[in-house]
């Protein structure tokens, strides 16, 4: 997938101008928070669950390598294999090798953000394999040739009419009625059915990797993940190393938090634990079972100040509650992960220089942190990234110098008062001369679409001091 995070400003302008997108985003970022709230209102123990999930994940992060070793042993004991991928290309290479070894031609995929992270589809297709996404949203965007715009609803940016039009283009099924959603779902299902049955390999993600027994928990609402896991002879699970949990109990706690936070469900339609390949006495299941664990910057994250980001369970709540996401949608962020969590992950995984605007795409309103089930201090991480950008000299010079000069001047109260007086006169002047304001670095952004309200005749501190002097010692100043 193309990486366009450095063009966030232009991307967001395109999104803002998209008249079709606006109502869709408005609806999504209204109904998903409402569903979440309703589910949480019906779960009095939700805050305790959050605390449990956070403490559990922190514990796993403290003992990551131990749990990884446990998990690997448990998978092997059940006849599966575990592979370690340091980076995106490593993961893709391992998948390709597994496919080549099992003579795979056709691959079906369940939804996986790790797959998006490593651009797996392109790698598979580049090697001549046929790849089909089977999650409805992923299927839609694959047909449209677009990247996902939301981590739990990859095609949430598309309206009903746009999907109908796409299906008419891509499915050669003649004249038919496609006015309502069930008709479209039926059609997609019809297109997918036979591909499920003829696939050689299925690739899915994982919502949790259980260290105690080597199971992987997969949460879906369409059951497509199960078909990808059970029908083909090869099942490959791809997941980030942070998906580890110690016990099935822990996976279940995470599941409760995840479903409520993501879609306001008490439980998803399908939740399955997979444990290794088909055993002799079992009627179905894959012949071979492989788990590939991706690092891709995660161990580095674990070692530093962004460690808490590894608690993320990819529920999407921070996107749904972000006022910036609400207006620009997922594509503007330019990579796999959008919204607040994406604005932290993208710079950390792909380099701050390539994503320097993302940490700025935040008003520090705090709604994401308030909603994040894993209590990740997202605004704080974005603040730290802005600091990193300034330290690395990536932030535009005018901003660095402007902020630096103000912060230095304000260390001396007399200079603060003097500069406030000057600032007052300056904004009074600039308010009357917007043409000039539009040319002042740093401030010119204000002039885009806004007038500068007129300040009153004198600063408060100036007025107050004058008055206190007039009162000659009446007040203690």
């Amino acid at each position: 997938m193309q990486h366009t995070s450095e063009h966030f400003v232009q991307n967001s302008r395109i999104a803002l101008a998209d008249a079709q997108l606006k109502p869709v985003l408005g609806a999504v970022t209204t109904f998903l928070p409402a569903l979440r709230q309703k589910a949480i209102d019906q779960t009095p123990e939700f805050e305790a669950l959050r605390d449990y999930a956070v403490a559990m994940k922190d514990h796993v992060l403290d003992h990551l390598e131990t749990y990884l070793a446990d998990f690997e042993r448990a998978v092997q004991a059940r006849g599966g294999a575990v592979h370690h991928a340091a980076g995106a290309e490593d993961l893709n290479r391992i998948v390709l090798a597994l496919c080549a070894g099992a003579d795979v031609r056709k691959v079906i995929k369940g939804k996986s953000m790790v797959g998006e992270e490593t651009n797996l589809n392109d790698a598979l297709q580049g090697a001549g394999l046929e790849v089909l996404e089977t999650d409805l949203g992923e299927y839609i965007i694959q047909q449209a040739g677009e990247p996902p715009s939301h981590i739990i609803g990859p095609a949430l940016h598309k309206s009903k009419a746009q999907v109908a039009e796409l299906f008419r283009q891509k499915h050669d099924l003649g004249e038919r009625n496609l006015d309502d959603v069930p008709q479209m779902v039926r059609e997609a299902r019809q297109m997918l059915r036979e591909r499920f049955l003829s696939a050689d390999a299925g690739i899915t993600g994982a919502n949790a990797l259980v260290a105690e027994n080597g199971s992987i928990m997969l949460v879906t609402n369409e059951g497509n993940g199960d078909l990808c896991s059970i029908l083909p002879r090869l099942h490959i699970v791809i997941a980030g190393i942070e998906k580890l949990v110690p016990t099935v109990e822990d996976a279940s706690a995470l599941h409760r938090v995840l479903c409520r936070s993501a879609t306001g469900q008490i439980t998803s339609a399908y939740t399955t634990f997979y444990s290794g390949p088909r055993r002799a006495e079992e009627p179905d299941g894959p012949v071979a079972f492989h788990v590939i664990l991706l690092d891709n910057g995660r161990r580095a994250m674990r070692a530093g100040k962004y460690r808490s980001m590894l608690r993320c369970i990819r529920c999407g709540a921070c996107l749904n509650h972000c006022p910036v996401y609400r207006h620009v949608g997922g594509h503007a962020y330019g990579w796999v992960y959008p919204g607040p969590m994406g604005s932290v992950l993208t710079p950390l995984m792909t380099g701050l220089e390539r994503a320097v605007e993302l940490p700025n795409a935040c008003t520090a309103c705090g709604r994401c942190e308030e909603t994040c089930p894993m209590r990740i201090p997202l605004p704080e991480h974005l603040r730290q990234l802005r600091d990193d950008a300034a330290t690395a000299g990536i932030t535009p010079r005018a901003w660095r110098l402007g902020i630096g000069a103000a912060m230095t001047a304000f260390r001396w109260p007399w200079l603060y008062r003097a500069s406030s007086g000057l600032a007052r006169s300056a904004v009074a002047f600039l308010g009357r001369h917007p043409g000039v304001l539009r040319r002042v670095p740093v401030l010119r952004g204000w002039a885009q679409g806004r007038a500068l309200p007129a300040p009153q005749a004198e600063t408060f501190m100036g007025r107050w001091q004058r008055r206190q002097h007039g009162k000659s010692g009446e007040h203690r100043l």
């Binding site: 008003t363 520090a364 230095t408 952004g445 679409g449 500068l452």
Partner: protein
């Protein structure tokens, strides 16, 4: 300094940059309300910026000396009160973190944070203040600024004060959603910022109110600046202005209310303030 609740607490007003530069009448109104509530109000002349612009825009270390200056300047009072949720949030939520590794300063930051309040929170919850009824006040909707709402839990306090003053708040849709100001955000990403403002303004207009009140001047100036361009006629007033002075229309009024002339409206007993820090440090200006 006494450790029991002072009958007439000594309150230091932290003015904040935007109020200082753009709208001194907000500080005047805050002083009038605090005095009416029975406080002895001081405006420490050594105050400067709280450091938030740098803290949020990639200059975290540069915010530290400003935080230290503010603590030195204000820690000798019973309370610090500011007519802004965002700068109060900086002091209450972020100073302890900002100074966590600075020897000798963390405790001072924590002690000051415990005695620092946003204006409406202080008036309503700490002082139990009941403002005088407003005369002929226009219909008001209320914008909850994010830092106040989420860092400090300011939501019902300004509404309660307004209700006491006889102002019925006409609630708008999406009060919990950010207006798009966001400090540097509004200048760095103006197109998104104004799109957010437009949604907020549309909701405010749809509420039927003619005045939009709020507790943070940054949001109000941003919305006012946007409304001026898009032709929306709403009046934007800080909640202190509405409460202190309901019968003088218009925020551009440049004559100050009669500071100090307010009388205590002794209708509710003040709750005891937290014990002031024993670590009294007489402030001096750095440098």
């Amino acid at each position: 300094m006494s450790t029991s609740a002072p009958a007439r607490p000594r309150v230091a007003l932290f003015v904040s940059c935007l109020v200082n530069v753009f709208r001194p009448t907000v500080a005047e109104a805050a002083i009038a309300l605090l005095e009416q509530a029975g406080c002895e109000v001081d405006v420490p002349p050594g105050q400067s910026c709280c450091g938030q612009p740098g803290y949020n825009a990639g200059a975290i270390a540069a915010a530290r000396p400003l935080a230290q200056n503010l603590i030195r300047c204000f820690e000798d009072y019973d309370y610090v009160v500011a007519p802004t949720g965002s700068c109060t949030g900086m002091i209450v939520e972020h100073y302890p973190r900002l100074l966590a590794q600075t020897p000798g300063w963390h405790e001072r930051a924590v002690a000051l944070a415990a005695r620092t309040f946003e204006l409406t929170h202080f008036l309503h919850t700490v002082m139990g203040f009941v403002p005088a009824p407003c005369k002929g006040t226009a219909s008001v909707s209320y914008h909850d600024s994010c830092a106040g709402l989420r860092e400090l839990g300011i939501r019902q306090q300004p509404r309660a004060l307004l209700a006491h003053a006889g102002v019925q708040v006409q609630e708008m849709q999406g009060t919990e959603i950010c207006c798009g100001f966001g400090g540097a955000f509004c200048a760095k990403l103006p197109a998104i910022s104004t799109a957010m403002a437009d949604e907020k303004l549309a909701n405010a207009v749809a509420s039927g109110a003619t005045t939009l009140a709020g507790g943070d001047l940054g949001c109000l100036l941003h919305l006012e600046g946007r409304a001026a361009v898009t032709g929306i006629s709403l009046e934007f007033r800080h909640v202190a202005e509405v409460l202190a002075d309901a019968h003088v229309a218009g925020h551009a009024r440049d004559t100050a209310p009669d500071v100090g002339a307010g009388h205590a409206r002794d209708t509710a007993a003040p709750v005891a303030p937290p014990q002031p820090s024993l670590n009294v440090h007489l402030g001096s200006e750095p440098g």
